[in-house]
């Protein structure tokens, strides 16, 4: 069980990135690589990485530049504890992106994955934009499909003489009220989202 996260850099200058890691994390590439699972397979070399950092319980290794993505490998000493790996990955993500911000290196498209045997975990950052998009998608049925369906049903019921106009207008009123309720609910959710959901530097994982 290991983790990896990546962020796209607007301008990826390898020298600047390595200097930043040296400045902020001391860059213990040799000792970090020696502690990692990669050391035992022999297939990955230290030269495949440009920076590394380790504590007693965890480590990260930064892969050499490939395209415009900065890719970071994360490993924890306890290979069985998924929550520990998630927390460690998020902590390193927060620290590394703060380092990028301080060095004025623009980054975007953060993504993370945890490699479990036969079950990949994908992580995404829950931004305000994603939160609002999620709410609108969840409420789509109540906001758009149900009102249109109700109006159409009332119209057809009158047209085919199933209901008289009074009965149909009562149904229509109910539909309008429930639509209004849905819109007010949406407004409250949007306000909560705008006030309380911050742009956290944290991955939310889903299987």
């Amino acid at each position: 069980m290991e983790g990896e996260f990546k962020v796209q850099l607007k301008t990826y200058d390898s020298e600047t990135v390595v200097k930043a890691f040296t400045e902020y994390f001391s860059n213990n590439l040799t000792t970090t690589f020696a502690k990692s699972a990669y050391q035992y397979t022999g297939i990955m070399k230290q030269s495949d990485f440009c920076a590394g950092y380790h504590t007693r319980d965890s480590l990260f290794l930064v892969y050499n530049r490939e395209g415009t993505f900065l890719k970071v490998y994360v490993e924890t000493l306890n290979q069985q504890d998924l929550n520990n790996l998630k927390n460690t990955l998020n902590e390193y993500f927060k620290n590394i992106t703060e380092m990028l911000d301080r060095k004025r290196i623009k980054w975007s498209k953060p993504q993370a994955t945890i490699r479990l045997e036969n079950c990949p975990l994908t992580g995404f950052v829950k931004t305000k934009k994603l939160y609002l998009k999620g709410i609108i998608e969840d409420q789509r049925e109540k906001l758009f499909i149900v009102p249109i369906g109700s109006v159409l049903a009332s119209f057809l019921a009158i047209h085919w003489n199933i209901l008289d106009k009074d009965e149909a207008s009562k149904d229509l009123k109910k539909a309008v009220i429930s639509t209004l309720e849905a819109y007010i609910g949406l407004l409250i959710l949007l306000l909560i989202g705008l006030i309380f959901v911050g742009n956290k530097r944290e991955f939310t994982f889903k299987i």
Binding site: E4, A37, Y38, E66, Q111, R115, E117, P120, T122
Partner: protein, 110 residues
């Protein structure tokens, strides 16, 4: 090991989970040649994490006479692709069934 069927006289078996998670094992009964097929997907991440090389390297080291083929449903980065080549593990990205069968036949005839 559960036998799934035969293809062109070659047995196809579903490997047990304990066997390093090999998804499919193709066995040629006459020569005893084994082809292990590993299927991987990284979901929304889009590309296989480079650490995918770890279980594959273990698989190759565990049985050097067994040919391993990687079937990926996500893209494979250049670094991972290079490392797979070093291990002599062919990788197929989002292949058709025919492409997998062709690769297995190629490995069996090698």
């Amino acid at each position: 090991m559960e036998q799934l069927g035969k293809l062109h006289g070659v047995e196809i078996r579903k490997a047990p989970v304990a066997d390093y998670g090999v998804d499919l094992l193709v066995v040629e009964p006459n020569s005893g040649k084994r082809i292990a097929i590993e299927c991987k997907s990284a979901g929304d991440y889009g590309e296989l994490p480079i650490s995918t090389i770890l279980p594959i390297a273990r698989l190759v080291k565990n049985d050097p006479n067994q040919q391993v083929i990687l079937v990926s449903f996500s893209s494979v980065s250049d670094l991972l692709s290079t490392k797979l080549k070093e291990l002599n593990v062919p990788s197929l990205t989002k292949p058709t069934v025919k492409q997998v069968v062709d690769q297995v036949q190629l490995a069996l005839s090698a």
